[in-house]
């Protein structure tokens, strides 16, 4: 069994205010990488292949992914601002060439917050999908995957036949730390670079961001000293009780 993990480089979402955020692997994708490695370590998969799209500047995040233990990693060289559907269309061609049994990826990237690529990819490939997954089990001789999904109404369990796309939620696992020797070793692993041309895919993003702005700040900050004072404010000022 081969597992492909598409992943994205994003600004560190936990960077403090005012700090310049360094780039990291999207936290949801890191969980997907970890889960793929655990499946391989259990002997249920033989190979974990990573793929990302972007310029050479993201090679550092690819090294981190390789250092976690991926067998190989590809970078599809495209520096444009792509939308989720363009990403899904590029990945589709790559996935058809690699022909894995499972595509495992984060449910959303924490910069764009779209939560679309996995589902679009599954739709383009005509594969089943299991989204927002917090537990994965391979069953029936690795021909089906049983997944617990985190939905608005609580946990739901489904099974999907392979090949399938599975997107990960936060509680699936706790990703491992990358050791310094691991990182040194990963420097020797090659990053295979492909162009869209080599893949034979030509896509244009259909979503154009015209501008971005900061949302207005909430005016907050009134301190109260006691429960009594809070009750008075809620009743008389806010009129919410």
């Amino acid at each position: 069994m081969k597992i492909v993990v598409p992943f994205k480089s994003v600004p560190d979402p936990y960077a403090g205010a005012g700090e310049a955020a360094k780039s990291v692997i999207n936290p949801f994708d890191e969980i997907a990488i970890e889960e793929a490695l655990r499946i391989r370590e259990r002997g249920e998969a033989s190979e974990v292949v990573g793929v990302t799209i972007g310029p050479a500047a993201i090679d550092e995040q690819i090294r981190s992914a390789l250092a976690m233990g991926m067998n190989r990693a590809f970078r599809i060289d495209d520096a444009r601002a792509l939308d989720p559907y363009a990403v899904a269309r590029i990945l589709r061609v790559f996935i058809e060439k690699e022909a894995p049994q499972i595509v495992l990826m984060g449910k959303q990237a924490v910069d764009d917050d779209s939560n679309q690529v996995g589902q679009m990819l599954a739709g383009l490939l005509g594969w089943p999908q299991a989204t927002f997954v917090s537990k994965i089990e391979l069953i029936e001789n690795n021909t089906r995957v049983q997944c617990a999904r985190e939905t608005d109404g609580g946990l739901e369990v489904i099974t999907v036949t392979v090949p399938a796309v599975v997107t990960t939620d936060l509680r699936l696992n706790e990703p491992r730390y990358v050791s310094l020797p691991g990182l040194m070793k990963a420097r020797k692993k090659p990053i295979e670079v492909l162009s869209c041309e080599q893949l034979g895919v030509s896509v244009q993003p259909m979503t154009k961001t015209l501008s971005t702005s900061r949302p207005p700040k909430r005016a907050g900050g009134t301190r109260v000293e006691s429960v009594e004072e809070l009750m008075v404010k809620l009743k008389q000022e806010a009129k919410v009780l």
């Binding site: 939905t151 979503t207 949302p215």
Partner: protein
């Protein structure tokens, strides 16, 4: 025929109220819109939807659609779009829509926007506003192509009135036998609660990690919510620590709420949590750390030990 199809979400043959808010976005877009429901045994729920000003309520009713499996639902929704000649597919942001609609977008070869907050039309061009980076940025976006899929953030659009003349109910014709078969429903956690739904409640009380364990969480956060007739929410840390179930999570990757009153207990205010509460009308924060970021955005902040404050608060509310 309708220019826009609005997918209405059901939960056990009942309409999920927040999904109706997408109708308000449909009205802002202009043109005729039809409502679409999928499931099994839908006569009654279809009849409850005829007064929202739609051109029709389109019903895909089949035992193969009893559970919302994305591969089947996406195929049927794409078929409905083709039959109606619709240009826009709308849903309301929820795990149901986020699971199914991107797949429909791929089947339609159309771009998609998640969590639309507002739209603006000028010179015939439409732009959409949506949050990114846990709500710390707002993007203004334009779409190309002649079809599009959008999810509306329910808290950004009013509930629509149901006062229009009744419309027709149409059964969608589709080949149920030819639907994909690669996904199978096994089970769903059924939790019975007397509390209101988190995304619909007037009051939400949420707790963070300092609640210590599920017993304290239920007694203090649950107790205060019950005194106020409100819903219970939690931070990611509280859910990760096993104090509350996953569907209580409020924030960037959980639910977005905008109640009249939001009470945050033992919540420091990580940007990922604030992303889910910032449109609440009144925010109350109770935390022992006077420098917690939540105090910067809370309407009222009370610094102190939650284990002393919350029981006092429950008592004063119960006394009236």
């Amino acid at each position: 025929m309708a220019e826009t199809l609005v997918l209405i979400e059901l939960d056990r043959q009942q309409v999920k109220r927040p999904s109706l808010h997408a109708i308000t976005l449909a009205r802002q877009l202009g043109g005729a819109y039809a409502l679409l429901i999928l499931g099994h045994g839908l006569d009654e729920v279809a009849a409850s939807l005829i007064s929202y000003g739609a051109s029709a309520v389109i019903v895909a009713d089949d035992s193969a659609l009893a559970e919302p499996l994305a591969d089947r639902y996406a195929a049927v929704i794409a078929e409905a779009i083709r039959q109606q000649g619709a240009k826009t597919l709308l849903g309301s942001s929820s795990t149901f829509s986020k699971d199914i609609l991107p797949r429909v977008a791929a089947l339609l070869d159309a771009p998609m926007l998640t969590d639309v907050l507002a739209l603006e039309k000028s010179d015939g061009a439409t732009t959409y506003r949506r949050p990114t980076n846990a709500g710390s940025m707002l993007a203004t976006v334009q779409l190309e192509g002649d079809r599009r899929v959008l999810t509306a953030r329910a808290t950004a659009f009013e509930a629509p009135a149901a006062d229009a003349a009744p419309c027709a109910i149409q059964q969608l014709k589709f080949d149920a036998g030819g639907l994909p078969n690669g996904m199978q429903f096994i089970s769903r956690e059924e939790r019975v609660s007397d509390r209101p739904d988190l995304t619909e409640a007037r009051v939400v009380v949420s707790g963070g990690r300092p609640l210590k364990d599920s017993e304290h969480f239920e007694r203090l956060v649950g107790g205060l919510a019950d005194a106020l007739g409100g819903a219970v929410g939690a931070t990611r840390a509280a859910v990760d620590a096993g104090m509350a179930p996953n569907d209580y999570q409020v924030g960037q990757t959980g639910k977005v709420v905008a109640p009249e009153l939001y009470i945050a207990i033992g919540i420091s205010g990580a940007i990922q949590h604030l992303a889910g509460i910032k449109d609440s009308r009144i925010i109350v924060a109770i935390n022992k750390d006077p420098d917690a970021p939540i105090f910067e955005m809370a309407t009222y902040g009370l610094v102190g030990d939650l284990h002393q404050i919350v029981p006092q608060l429950i008592e004063s509310i119960r006394k009236g």
